[in-house]
Amino acid sequence: MYRCKKCGSEHIKDKEMPRTGKIMTYTRLHEPLPGFEAQAPLYLAVVKLDNGARILSQIVDSPDEAVKTGARVKATVRRALVDGDSGQIVYGYKFIVVN
């Protein structure tokens, strides 16, 4: 966001997000986008972080039974994607269910 949708201010500052939250909703995707085939079937979730902010992320390293609405999750760093044969290996955040 470059301008606040409420007041129109352009004074936007980055803010560090909490690394924990809970699953608002999730899906199990059988055919992800090209490049993500090795991760299929892929759990994706809308995670509501502990400060109320919501993001879309993969749920990894969690037993199937543990992935459900309301489950508590914590962020971790993982390889996100590989940009072709000669591009970067990009890292990003994914989430693990915690008990």
Partner: protein
Amino acid sequence: MARSRAYVSSVGMTSIADHWEDSILDLAVQASREALRGYPNKKPDQIIVGNMFSAVGARQEHLGAMLAAALGLAGTPAFKVEAACSSGGSAFNVGYNLVRSGAMDSALVVGVEKMRDLEPEDVSLALAMAESAEYTQFVGATFAALNGLLARYYMEQMDVSRDELSAIPVIDHANAVTAQHAQFRKEITPEVVSRSQMISDPLRLFDCAPVGDGAAAVLLVNDNAASGGRRKLAEVIGGKIATNDFTIYERDDMLDFKSTRLAFKGAMEQAGLAPAKLGMVEVHDAFSVVGALSLEAMGFSKRGHGAKDAKAGRYGRGSELPINTFGGLKARGHPVGATGVYQIAEAYLQLTDQAGKNQVEGVEYAATQNIGGVDTTSAVHLFGRAA
């Protein structure tokens, strides 16, 4: 410039199918010629093409000029309008505003998409461009996955059952049986939906609109261009586009289709029409859950009741408010950039009593609702019989 009334005076549609032997231009020309036959010896002042990903699907851009030249109309102002799956409705909205303002007296609006020349994973990649490359494509989420997230949220928050969610696809398929241009013309049962292949849990194959090729064209005219002739006209009485927060999860309420709500409200105010007067709606059911939430956003069903009402018989043929009279996105088909124009062509056929076996008897007013992304852009238009 004085405002004028605007009308759809003729339409053209290809069937929606695997058009292996037709190029994107062939399809656009076929639909255009049919629409222009209703406008003999005249040339449209403007050509507008609605299309989402011709660059990927056909390795072709610059569709406006290309179509104009192919129709023997080189010289005509022409361009493409893109707003993901609402490209068709958005292109029409531009034409509507040009024509009713008097800036142009007539406009040919053509929606076209070639999807079937791509491998399935490349269709997925193309559709994913409706969503954020940095945040959504980045996590491997397909467009179906986003709708899967929405579907689970809808079912859990609003206590909607599997069979209730299946009701709109069932209505669509029943209506498409007698629709000549529809892609899938077989009735289905709720069991067919719930037994179909899982795509992105809980969405199954039959919750999702199919992939296909097609083109639809409509000719817009104002009072200056409409005079004379025995053409059947449908009046465009309102039309608005609205947008939403770009990613579904940043929205305060994922179940509030704000774009559709605002576009519908704006169009209805523009038309001065009471909702009870609407006799049919062409709803954008790219996924069953999207159809249900669209009906709620337009106020036809209370919050959480779109799918339930469909299951209870509210929206089928012969009901008080029939939807998707030729099969909607699920059964008529969804060549993405073309869909909005198909909806409008269908509304035109209904209001001019040319809908054959799909005719909604005596319908006076029709609404069309065309979405890009997950209600990220919504283009709503309203039509009535010409006086």
